[in-house]
Amino acid sequence: MSRIAQRFQQLQDSKRTALIPFITAGDPTPQITVPLMQAMVSAGADVIELGVPFSDPMADGPVIQRATERALAQGVSLTAVLEMVRQFREHDGTTPVVLMGYLNPIEVMGYAQFAQQAAAAGVDGALIVDLPPEEGHDLIALMKAQGLDLVYLLAPTSTAARIKLIGDVASGFVYYVSVKGVTGAGHLDTAAVAAQVGAIKSLIPLPVGVGFGIKDAETAAKVAQVADAVIVGSAIVSQIETLAATPERIPDTIGNFLAELRQAIDAVDCSVTSRAAE
């Protein structure tokens, strides 16, 4: 069983919802990324999504675009991101790390090289935003051969047929994009999200994480009622941005923020569990 599957199994056994923070690797400095990942784990992160910077992040809103630009200004490459994961793994053998990014840096590194080096560095899976299953055959096969999970996005525009198609190749978990829009967008419609998560779960057996539009403890708690994982990106990255001049303060600040979210999510889990026990 992959590290991601194991983690979701544990969470399910203890009836808890996962908290999955996203950060862009190398933002605002390459040195801060590993300590920040460790701080997030201490604060209660269950899985870490690590953004691989790309010059043309077409699915990202302004907050993550700027994070990407800060990282690229420091020359952070895919190879450098893999090295960060390797360092993180020296002290943490259990927290899954999922790379999130765009295809071109992987295409240039070479699919086989990427799959092999990512596995060797201790990466657990990848979410490649611009690689739908239709285009992914070769890379999917190579990654599976290395035991890496393929995490996919599902959107409000995904039809039942597409959800099934994605269910056939996805592993670990799927990521439901709660709004039509780019990262950092929006306004969460919890009822609509609940319906859609239900529809997804009726079609595929994987855990469903929900992201886009989760800004604070309140929205995290709402999503925790309906999802297996709460995914938070822009709300973290915008705090990192305000601390870009004092990177040493970032791990604590983000750790505190995640602890708040963790608490809110756990409160929901508790009430759901006790209700279920009644």
């Binding site: 071109n104 240039v108 285009e135 996005l153 959107a155 525009t157």
Partner: protein, 450 residues
Amino acid sequence: MAIHADKNPNHPVENPPNPPLLKGGFSSSPVEKDTSSSPPFEKGGQGGISDFSNYTLPDEHGHFGVYGGMFVPETLMHPLEELRLAYAACCADPNFQAELDADLRDYVGRPSPLYHAERWSRELGGAQIYLKREDLNHTGAHKVNNTVGQALLAKRMGKTRIIAETGAGQHGVASATVAARLGLECVVYMGEVDVARQEANVYRMRLLGATVVPVKSGSRTLKDALNEAMRDWVTNIDNTFYIIGTVAGPHPYPMLVRDFQAVIGREARAQMLERTGRLPDALVACVGGGSNAIGLFYPFLNDREVAIYGVEAAGDGIETGHHAAPLTAGRPGVLHGNRTYLMEDANGQIIETHSISAGLDYPGVGPEHAWLKDSGRASYDAITDAEALAAFHHLTRTEGIIPALESSHALAYAHKLARTLRPDQNILVNLSGRGDKDMHTVASLDGLVL
């Protein structure tokens, strides 16, 4: 249109290589034959494709060999499928074709003339040069052929809002124009750098009622405008139609933009036959994203004796690295929804391009050109800023035609090519647009502020 008899029996005019109507490429069977017998992506050789009569690329997933495809976020997959189906329905509908033809005739002013640049040809001292006058279209460039078509499609799909990206501003103007005519809201994304160097077109778009949004991310040019338009589309997918301005982007865009632009080549082929009694010896067109070029080339693909040249922007010179010539000096990768030749660094980051002409300042190129390059059917070369400017002045002075700086790249290449050919040989150049929009750029090089 009645077409004069072809003198060459190998090229029956009654049976051109592609049906005269829009051709969507929805049948995939001949594609497999084409690609499996001679994979175009085996570099180095000529590809060996001799029969383009069954050319039906792209395949149903939008692939031209290994190029093209649909590399987009999940949110766009279903909308792109809807677009593909809507386009297929339009291709099968004679009413759509009739409406399009009427618009091209009465609104765009087609057919555009074919002009024998006799005086310029004589000065160059080689082959005869014929210009396909896309500069005489309404709005001053070939771009409008495509926006008229996509706007009709948008209307059929019930969309109320148009978005577009633009570099030189020509596509933005052409989009704002059709939006005004149909009473649709129009938002045009344009890199901040391009907004500054194409002021006149920005003003035209605003006059036409469009909102021009300067894009401040990345290199603040055409590629970033495309990113921003994609972001808008993902967000407003329900009521918005994205009119892409070139043969790039995810499937079905490279196919449908090509089909709308192929009117250029269909007309020009018939006009050359009528005027000279035979096909031209060579075609020349500039390549930014590649829409005017594919529009000219496509109906000639099966005419093997016609040499095909695409001309990229060499900027300050290929060796300086300051250029916009992915086919000449780039390598394959994935950007903006398709696999194609790109300008990128060793880590797969897209690098900044440079060209004097905003319309060629793009780090990618349409996937069909990538395929045509590898297959050997078309050749691609690049022309520097300085060479393009010289051709700009030369044509202006000898023929009284002020060309767009983009088109000037094709002219400069034709100039070089003409000297290697005989006076009884003919070169057909796509004069993709007029130079009015470039007055500021050229004047400032002469030290003038307009």
